[in-house]
Amino acid sequence: MKEIIKINFGSSSENFDEVIEMNGHQIHIRSLGVNYNVDIALDLIRRYSDECDAFALSGFILDIKLKNETFSHQVVKRIKEAAQGKPVLDGNMLRKTAIPWALRRYLEVDKHFLSNKTIAFYTGLVQWSYLSFFEDLQCPMVFGDLYFSMGIPASIKGLEGLETFLKINSPFLTRLKIDKKVSRDFSASYTQNKIMQPFFDADIFFITESQLKFTQLNDLKGKTVIVDRLDKENEDKLFNAGADKILNLFPPDTHQPRLSSSVIEAILTVTSESIGLTEEDILHNLQKTQIRPQLITTGQHHHQDDRFAFIIHPLAKSQIAQIPGLDFLKKSPLLDFAETIASKVPGYHYCKISGIKSEFSGKEISGDLYLLPSTPKMLLNRPTEKVYESLTTICELAHKRGAKLIGLGAYTKIVGDAGVTVNKRSPIPVTTGNSLSSAATLWAASYGVDKMGLVSKNGTSYDGTCMVIGATGSIGKICAKILAKQWKKIIVVAPRPYKILELVEVLKHFAPESEVVGTTNPNKYSSQCDLIITSTSAQGERVLDINLVKPGCVICDVSRPFDISLDDAAKRPDILIIASGEVDLPGDVKIEKTIGLEGETVYACLAETALLTLEGIFESFSISRELAYEKVVQIDRLSRKHGIRLSNIMGHTGVITDSEIASCRKLALKKVES
């Protein structure tokens, strides 16, 4: 078996170790990335020079041969010494023939692809082997070498200019440090000058795969880009920079393993009968391969994006008048009638939400919002089956537009069995977003407690008492588990004693450091609690005597309808009452039309749908009224990972501002004093 070692100057995370068969030979190829560390590269070459038959270099070239100038970096000598006579290939002999040939193949179908176009090369020196092809075609060329290798934002015009550049600077270039991870930013503001402008004005940009990895691109709006090879990451990068079309010269071929030029050269060298690689070998090899360059346009690209969908609906009949085209209804007596009529209208595509970008992976996604023009009243009063039908129709619509997951907003997830039936009938998975809603509510609660600043904190745990009313319910149980880990003492309240006993036992095992007390009467302990979460199905009945509650307490009212009535809330301005938390999505988020919230803020349940799409979890994550603790913890973790944060805490009547919290705190302190 022949042994080839590929030294990749780029990242070691692309290492591989494979045996392939080519031209009747078994060839063992190992790719070792050295993360731009020349010393490691040299040590590796020394280490393997006995064992292997040839070395292939990637991301580094040996000699540069222009018309009148030849040049090689001083490291080249050391590499050749280290290799102790074993052949070292950099792929340029192959590129010299293969790239012009692939371009010619493409010109057969698109004759005017290069006519009257200026072509920009990010580094003409690295791309020297095929520049003469463009010169023969009389294409005007412009080079970014001055900036790329020396950081001087100026462009070089024409091949002669490049030769002059090399002549003047070769003493400097031979000593150029490779160890430094050069990452040139072509979008930086200081590159925007007159001397650099001809480079940016070019029509076509040519960049190699390895350069693309560590170059920050300039604005490529309306431009065409030629690449030798293209992976998904680079494709996204180019389109994100605005590129209009990409010509991929060597798209992946199912019949052949994906190999870089230098590795192909190395294979030809070790399998050839002659000594050393000749142009004849390359010609012979290329005759056997099929080359079909591929042009990718923006439209094709966006089609492959991960997309999600989300269903919204007006929360009050006054919002129907906000639907574009229906504003004349605003003060009209017809509004009630319109509410009924609107509820018979099937759901439709409302607008796009785009620019959601993970802070962890940089993955960017977009989604579609669908509007079901039914108010909560209509949704709850119509036959459940009819609502299921409308929702399923939207799911099918979303599926057709390429969504991989759909979220149910507001009351659409309350109707019937909370998404179970819709999920069964939908072609794509459905989620209610309740896991993130719960997590966001808990974030809001801790935010409230922290802002009030009345409970001392020991690291991340609170030195105080909290209470969960309705602790044996689905959401209550999760809150109790999470809070037990965070608070010194927790009181759990539920109407049935045997259920409480069971929960207390679970919590004691789950959070042994915390003191757990169970009761059926919240009023007994409410005077010592710093945080109270109520999550009951009391349907608006009073569960708590507000007058007994400790001043400065934060109450988080998760129940719908609310457990704490507006009247009760008004009685105690020294208590902070939170209804839910709203969140910000990461990235430069754009929502085409209003959804009733400011800026990038979105409903937590919409955020969950987006978050699952960012992570690539296309499943019915939260469904039915039962929630799982693990899922809330997982969603909390994913939120931190991708950068979803709490933006606002909401009270019964809207956003709670910091000044409202401050005045609440003041009143509480006053009350304690008196």
């Binding site: 290492n15 170790d17 993360n35 490691i40 789950f510 997982q634």
Partner: protein, 346 residues
């Protein structure tokens, strides 16, 4: 279960071998031909251990061709904990041993027909993140800033494991914290991590009269700095549980660090007290002072990260999958560690 252990003669490895052997597992050990005698001596009291000659430096792990057939049809679980560990290791050495070694192991896995589980020992330092919280499925890019080459090479190696481990088996990545001696006997192999510091304090005792006057020790530690110290016996206890009842996901990763945070300052202060030194640590928060002070104290400069890091290591997955792990408290084990340290000194 037929378990192949790579790196079984190291500090953690030999304890893991004993533990798994005691639980009745059938142990295969990959040993470099040159250290075969040493290994046999080390485990002379354990019956039925299968020694395989081989080296992870070689593309073909097993140098003894005769054994290959036997091994490839028997091994069900591979534990890879071979790595070179020194803070002052050179980039090339770290790369050759830790990255290429792991790449060779990964290649070898594809030849094992009965393989079900692969346990890879990484380190919590693969994410040299100073602030915030580090998730179990997080792995920073290999081109980020690293304070030492060991951490960098382990980061690159873990990237490879995540990418190249066969998809049909279950892979578990163990990320231990700073491993110190046995929690009850204090037994250990070599001086690193906190032991550098113990040594330093012992040296100051030579000028104890001066120290009694000064009484303070300005250290470039931040108040919130954390030190995920874990005694080796606790680590073995946890790992063996994970190995014997492995998670059933394709890829799992655990931070093997104490659940209760250990603040660096508190830990070091207690060490000083236990070493009977009158010094009290005061925190010097000047970032610039770090390297200079370290040089002055004769501590390796790579320790800077370990003094500065305030990031918490997330344990959600570990807590969920193994809720009943024993949790040590440093106030209980540190006296034993220091005792053993002093005993070894004399």
């Amino acid at each position: 279960m037929n378990i192949l252990i790579i790196g079984g003669t190291g500090f953690i490895g030999q304890r893991l071998v004993r533990k798994l052997h005691a639980s009745g597992e059938n142990i295969f050990l990959l040993v470099r031909p040159s250290s075969l005698a040493k290994a046999k001596n080390l485990f002379s009291n354990l019956a039925g251990i299968n020694y395989l000659r081989g080296d992870i430096d070689q593309t073909d792990l097993l140098s003894d061709v005769g054994q290959t057939e036997k091994v490839t049809h028997q091994i069900e679980c591979v534990i890879h904990l071979a790595a070179t560990y020194r803070l002052d290791i050179s980039p090339s050495e770290a790369y050759l041993k830790n990255v290429i070694g792991t790449q060779n192991v990964l290649k070898f896995l594809s030849r094992l027909s009965k393989l079900q589980y692969f346990h890879y020992f990484s380190t919590y330092a693969v994410n040299q993140v100073l602030e915030g919280s580090v998730l179990e499925d997080q792995l920073i890019s290999g081109n980020s800033h690293f304070y030492d080459e060991y951490a960098r090479s382990k980061n690159h190696a873990e990237h490879l494991v995540r990418k190249l481990a066969p998809k049909e088996i279950k892979t578990v990545i163990h990320r231990p914290g700073i491993i110190i001696g046995d929690s009850s006997t204090g037994e250990r192999d070599k001086n690193d991590g906190p032991y550098y510091f113990f040594d330093f304090i012992e040296k100051t005792k030579k000028i104890i009269h001066l120290m009694k006057r000064i009484k303070i020790l300005p250290l470039p530690v931040q108040k919130e700095s954390l030190m995920p110290v874990l005694p080796v016996d606790i680590l073995i206890n946890w790992c063996s549980q994970i190995i014997l009842e492995p998670p059933q996901r394709p890829l799992s990763c655990y931070h093997l660090v104490p659940h209760n945070k250990i603040h660096t300052k508190e830990f070091l202060q207690l060490s000083i007290d236990l070493l009977n030194s009158p010094l009290k640590i005061i925190c010097v928060p000047f970032e610039r002072a770090f390297p200079a002070v370290f040089k002055l104290l004769n501590l390796p400069s790579q320790l800077v990260f370990y003094m500065k890091q305030t990031a918490t290591l997330d344990r959600t997955q570990l807590n969920r999958d193994y809720p009943n792990l024993i949790e040590p408290h440093f106030k209980n084990f540190l006296p034993n560690i220091i005792d053993a340290f002093l005993r070894n000194k004399t």
